[in-house]
Amino acid sequence: MSPETAMLLAMALPLVGAAGIQLAGPWPNLREAVTLLTATATFLLVVQVLPSVAAGARPEATLFQMLPGLSIAFRVEPLGMIFALIASFLWIVTSVYSIGYMRGHHEENQTRFYTFFAVAIASALGIAFAGNMLTLFLFYEVLTVSTFPLVTHHGTEEARRSGRTYLGILLGTSICFQLFAIIWTWTLTGTLDFTDGGILEGRASALVIGVLFALYVYGIGKAALMPFHRWLPAAMVAPTPVSALLHAVAVVKAGVFTVLKVTVYVFGIDLLRTVGGSEWLQYMAAATIVIASLVAMGKDNLKARLAYSTISQLSYIVLGATLVTSWSVVGAGMHIAMHAFGKITLFFCAGAILVASHKTEISDMRGLGRAMPFTMAAFLIGSLSLIGLPPMGGLWSKWYLALGALEADKMFFVGVLMLSSLLNVAYLLPIPLRGFFAAPPEPEPAADGQDEGDHGHAPAPADGIREAPLACLIAIAITVTGSVVLFFYPDPLFDLMRQVVSPH
């Protein structure tokens, strides 16, 4: 199969899968089989594209003209390849996890859930493979709209409020700033194609370039740069698999991916560095890194803490993009992968804890390591990866980001990265440590009985092992392994990113 065909099929297949899921709705086992099959096939298709991209080819396809002179077009370059690989691979893992979680948690409307999930993945792949800014923007908005039913899955008043914040901020920033910037770019240059070295060189004054860059960075609300970050904690009202894949991987990574893509292929690293239009944004990113970490520390709800941690980590990537040195961009690209594996593990664990013990608050999780040793161990490993300690993949991306800051001759940001690591230690590690070493709170007498009545779990002895459903554990095992593997074999990732910063 030619890489072009594989690329187009990879985007079309999840949509076909979504239709299949709808049709198979009445038969849950068949429906889940369709999801798993589609996810696996999609990943295999994406893998088909990899060899040619790694070899330096850029598979292209133009579908049709949307506006005169502007087509819906796709072109796979290394950065998009990385994003597509991560999104499609983790879709399989998340599907396995979802089956355990959604059934274990007795969620309703599961057919709708799996359908929109597939649509969201299709749009994420569309973003990854987009060949021009218009195509990217199209899928960016489809992703926003298709994840709305997932965020508001429970249909409660809280879900509705969060849904408003979610849609309001993401649509608002993208329409007000991003679309504005895109049309402005189009009137300046007459093209929106992603081009090596950018398209704005010599087309605009330094001031205009600075303003445009800010419009893009803030217009990409999915990157959650403060003060447009509120949607991310709001989205935590969704079922955990949604938080895991979409709000730790697909949606937020679509955001930072777009920032990187715009930096490299619309502005061009050299142009941005010479005009210096991105300097003040480095400080905004640094501020987001530190402030979000501090906020995370104060959150007792586990998912809320992870959400703020995500905001902080996303700004690593924004910082890498705005530093505009080769190393910082390499680090930013690698951090997309590293953070994806680390954070999805943590969210999986949060969901597993919820399903098995119905706990959402960190203060209730003392001593939980005895009942859920596997989950808590996985949480520890995921945390280590986010902190950036060996033998976890997170080390490499932080390493290159720091190198990038040094290359730009800005020690300040090396300091920020180090500080952030310390803050990560402070807000992540206590959770598994207390889980293992603190004494569990006195069991409430009614707890087990009530549990049985509500959810039909077999009563277990207070100090016995009570882990999450097997499907959840398998998924967690895979992502943990992924984090470790990325430490020992970061080379493919690194080589792809090298192509981005020094083409040919």
Partner: protein, 493 residues
């Protein structure tokens, strides 16, 4: 089909069939006749459009009387495009009308409805194709008078006052228009639009012509419901029978905008009044006011039909904003939005009509739980709503893109910012309805609510489908709009 008589047939057919509908005693035969006629008109309009695109402007003299004496039809790109919009919406809403009318209008009045519908269609089509200022007035009155009747046919008695108000305002508008035409005739001695265009520059500076321009602009602005001359519109749309709202919202104001384009650019184009007399600035300010004031008012409406009516006023603002820039891109933004807004608003009002049929109400509360009870209808509503917001892959995005591009090309970036800000207001009023439909449970007393009949769902989804299709593949429609704009500015094919 390349008969030279196509343009006139398209208008005469509905005009002549209308009396036949009037003498029929029952709804079904009248509906059948009207259905055949409207779809034939639509086919003719499409044939005329292809002919115009291939061979350029068609000139047709009625009864073979040459132009200054007889009436001339002159159909260029924009005229043919308007005819396609009007007859297309007419054909779809007629298909939609049978079940909807059966629910909303008494048996004895149904033939009257189809009569008036055909007359209104004939009038609007006539305006699109005629090349004569007085003939245009006649068609304007045919379409307006019949639409007053159409509105008053609703069973809601408030429709009578709404129709009466529209009658008064509409008549003032028409009178202003005819006074303007009279003054023009006095100064130039012709009523033919092409001749007027040739003779206006000689007398352009005179006070009489300026007064005529004032009368014409105000008169037409009343008809197209430009803020603050819009007061007739919200109630007329809110209380009219559902299908009448669909038809009028998608065609009547659009045709009035077309007339404004004709006057400003065809007749006064060489005199360049839009710059020389600051008409452009006046229109721009009013358009911006419409975009913001009407959108804000829409947010606070409890009646969904009224909400959409105010949204229409805001959308008229977008169209006029494009026109007021008087550049090729600006005018094409206005023209493309005529088409785009017609299809999305058509779909939205059809969805509201379906809801009215099943729940008996168009208040926001009536939408509670319909996301589950009427999934197909509500999905169409969501598509139309996303299009109003201007989400990519919908026609609304294409309009917004072109309009912002036009603003940036002229260096007016504050305008671009204002356009984007106002579209945020659309998110609020669209989502207000969507939230109720999907997050509130169906009240128990509405337990028997089910999906609308197929004959209503199909036209609705045809329009909703169009608003996605032409949002993804807009090269054709935007191409027509650009050529039409270039032709209006006098430098096109």
């Amino acid at each position: 089909m390349t008969s030279p008589h196509l343009p006139v047939l398209m208008v005469v057919l509905p005009l002549m069939s209308a009396p036949f509908c009037a003498v029929m005693r029952r709804g079904l035969p009248a509906w059948s006749l009207a259905l055949v006629v409207t779809w034939t008109s639509f086919a003719l309009a499409l044939a005329v459009l292809t002919q115009v695109l291939d061979h350029g402007t068609i000139i047709y003299s009625i009864g073979d009387w040459a132009a200054p004496w007889g009436i001339e039809y002159r159909i260029d790109r924009i005229g043919a495009f308007m005819a396609v919009i009007v007859s297309g919406i007419g054909a779809l809403s007629l298909a939609y009308s049978r079940r909807s009318i059966a629910h909303e209008i008494g048996v004895r009045r149904r033939p009257l409805f189809y009569t008036m519908f055909l007359l209104s269609l004939a009038g609007l089509l006539g305006i699109s194709v005629t090349g004569d200022a007085f003939n245009l007035f006649v068609f304007l009155e045919i379409s307006s008078l019949s639409s007053y009747v159409l509105i008053s046919l609703a069973s809601d008695r408030r429709a009578l006052t709404a129709a009466y108000r529209y009658l008064i305002m509409g008549t003032i508008g028409a009178t202003f228009y005819i006074i303007g035409v009279g003054l023009m005739y006095m100064m130039t001695g012709t009523l033919n639009l092409a001749d007027l265009a040739a003779r206006v520059p000689e007398v352009a500076g005179t006070r009489t012509i300026l007064v005529a321009l004032g009368f014409l602009t105000v008169g037409i602005s009343l008809k197209l419901a430009l803020f603050p001359l819009h007061t007739w519109l919200p109630n007329a749309y809110a209380f009219a029978p559902s299908v009448v709202t669909v038809f009028l919202a998608s065609t009547a104001t659009k045709v009035a905008i077309y007339v404004l384009l004709r006057i400003l650019f065809t007749v006064f184009g060489k005199a360049d009044v839009i710059h020389a007399q600051e008409i452009g600035d006046v229109l721009m300010v009013l358009a911006l006011l419409a975009m913001f004031v009407a959108s804000l008012v829409a947010i606070f409406q409890d009646n969904v039909k009224r909400l959409l009516a105010f949204s229409s006023l805001a959308q008229v603002g977008y169209m006029i904003l494009g026109v007021s820039m008087a550049t090729a891109t600006g005018i094409s933004a206005g023209i493309i939005h005529l088409f785009n807004h017609a299809i999305m608003k058509g779909a939205l009002f059809m969805a509201v009509g379906c809801v009215f049929m099943r729940t008996g109400s168009v208040r926001v509360e009536a939408f509670a739980g319909l996301g589950r009870a009427m999934p197909v209808t509500m999905a169409a509503f969501v598509v139309g709503g996303l299009s109003l917001i201007g989400v990519p892959a919908t026609v609304g995005f294409i309009s917004k893109w072109t309009l912002i591009q036009a603003a940036l090309e002229t260096g007016a970036w504050p305008l671009a910012v204002l356009i984007l800000l106002s579209s945020l207001l659309a998110i609020v009023y669209v989502w207000k309805v969507v939230e109720v439909a999907y997050f509130q449970p169906l009240p128990s007393y509405r337990g028997d609510v089910r999906e609308a009949p197929l004959s209503m769902v199909l036209p609705m989804w045809f329009l909703a489908g169009c608003s996605i299709y032409f949002g993804i593949d807009a090269a054709t429609t935007l191409g027509i709009a650009r050529d039409a704009a270039a032709a209006l500015l006098g430098n096109g094919p």
